[in-house]
């Protein structure tokens, strides 16, 4: 099976150094310490904490493994204290093993904060973003970092805006189908190795690896670069997975769906994705069939399920008991065209 448990991996932690490097440009981060230190500390939690009550000395349920965010409220409260009280209040937080501290909305740190951060080896960052927005953005960034990832062997193509993953045994022609689709104006996301990341509940986003990007191996040619051959229109970097097409050699004993009423779902990382088994036989154009699968998915998505409509028509006819096999036209009435 392609989607094995052992192919799922997940980060347990990231270092403060990695965190700072990635958010610096994105969220206008600056280091408020004169020199960097404590960058080896690790972040294990994707949630953030506003210390609020902890500043008043109420340390129950204090989540010390989280990044601590000081917004306007916290700093206003601290400004009402005198220097000694402020130091005492802050020390209760800084003496815990917190990963780092962030000040929002370009607020400047009190001298006590700078001293304590140095004393307890805790980096102090500032951002120009408002608190709620920053918490949302960093939460999303960390959510992505700590999300389950899965590597799959297949070709991932955007067909009419539908993310289609081709799977099947090696050499069955996944890359060739992807190439054919690109030739017809669809866009390649990744070939051979696709990394899927779980975003929120029920969404898998796939992309290629940094090394491979849009390179592809075609038997008999070797490695080719889709982007340089077909141009920027032929590729994209990420796409939501929506349909899995399982290519297999025609098996006489296997049963393939004939009506399409029985939707076959595959569970990947806890996300249910429709799976279509396509048997390969000579004379069958898999590319066109793939396009139709994508279009049929769109139809269903927009509320029109051909299989269901046909079933309803037949049921109605059976109920009427007027079953004569009429033509769709009653009478051709001298129309010989």
């Amino acid at each position: 099976m392609i989607f094995e448990e052992k192919n799922i991996f997940k980060k347990d932690s990231i270092t403060v150094e990695f965190f700072f490097k990635n958010v610096k440009e994105r969220f206008n981060f600056t280091l408020l310490n004169e020199k960097p230190f404590g960058f080896e500390k690790v972040i294990r939690e994707q949630s953030l904490n506003r210390p609020q009550f902890a500043l008043t000395g109420f340390m129950d349920h204090f989540t010390e493994s989280r990044i601590q965010v000081f917004g306007n409220t916290e700093l206003k409260y601290l400004s009402l204290l005198d220097s000694n009280q402020r130091k005492e209040s802050l020390e209760k937080i800084f003496e815990r093993n917190i990963p780092c501290v962030i000040l929002t909305e370009s607020n400047q740190p009190f001298q006590e904060m700078i001293d304590l951060s140095q004393k307890y080896n805790i980096p102090l960052f500032g951002s120009t973003y408002p608190t709620t927005k920053l918490i949302y953005l960093i939460g999303d960034f960390l959510d992505d970092q700590f999300a389950s990832r899965l590597s799959a062997h297949g070709s991932f193509v955007d067909v009419y805006g539908v993310g289609v993953l081709f799977v099947g045994r090696s050499g069955i022609g996944k890359s060739e189908v992807a190439l054919d689709l690109v030739e017809r104006g669809h866009r390649l996301v990744a070939d051979d190795v696709v990394i899927f990341t779980k975003k929120g509940e029920g969404i898998l986003i796939g992309s290629g690896t940094q090394l491979v990007q849009h390179f592809m191996e075609v038997r008999g040619i070797g490695l080719i670069d889709i982007r340089s051959i077909f141009g920027v229109r032929s590729i994209r970097y990420q796409k939501r997975l929506e349909v899995v097409i399982d290519l297999e050699i025609w098996d006489e004993d296997a049963t393939y769906t004939r009506t399409g009423l029985d939707e076959n779902l595959i569970n990947i990382c806890g996300v249910e994705i429709p799976q279509v088994k396509v048997p390969i036989v000579p004379g069958k154009n898999i590319t066109v069939i793939s396009e139709v699968i994508a279009l049929n998915y769109l139809q269903k998505h927009y509320g029109e399920d051909a299989a269901k409509i046909f079933k309803e028509r037949l049921d109605k006819k059976l109920q009427e008991k007027s079953s004569n096999n009429d033509r769709s036209i009653d009478y051709f009435e001298h129309d010989f065209e």
Binding site: R258, T259, L261, K311, L314, D315, L318, N325
Partner: protein
């Protein structure tokens, strides 16, 4: 060639599910398989064809099997008709 008359005995008639089962059963055999109703003849391996019959309860169909495994094919498919498509 084997030709047999069968009657639809289940309440719902030959609706989508049994139609799909019939074509799947028929596909397992090499023999050609036709169904005819009131003189309208269709290929029994085609899902659209079988559904087009719109055969309600009580209607009579003529099944034709032709090929090397016609006997097994006819037994399997006629058995399914006789069981009322497992809906009795």
């Amino acid at each position: 060639m084997i030709e047999k008359k069968v009657k639809i005995i289940n309440q719902a008639g030959l609706h989508t599910r049994p139609a799909a089962t019939i074509v799947k059963l028929a596909a397992k055999f090499k023999s050609e398989f036709f169904i005819s109703k009131d003189g309208f003849n269709i290929n029994g391996k085609s899902i659209i064809g079988v559904m087009t019959l719109a055969a309600e309860k009580g209607s009579e169909l003529i099944l034709t099997f032709d090929g090397e495994d016609e006997l097994e094919a006819s037994e399997t498919i006629i058995g399914y008709f006789k069981r009322g498509f497992d809906e009795l």
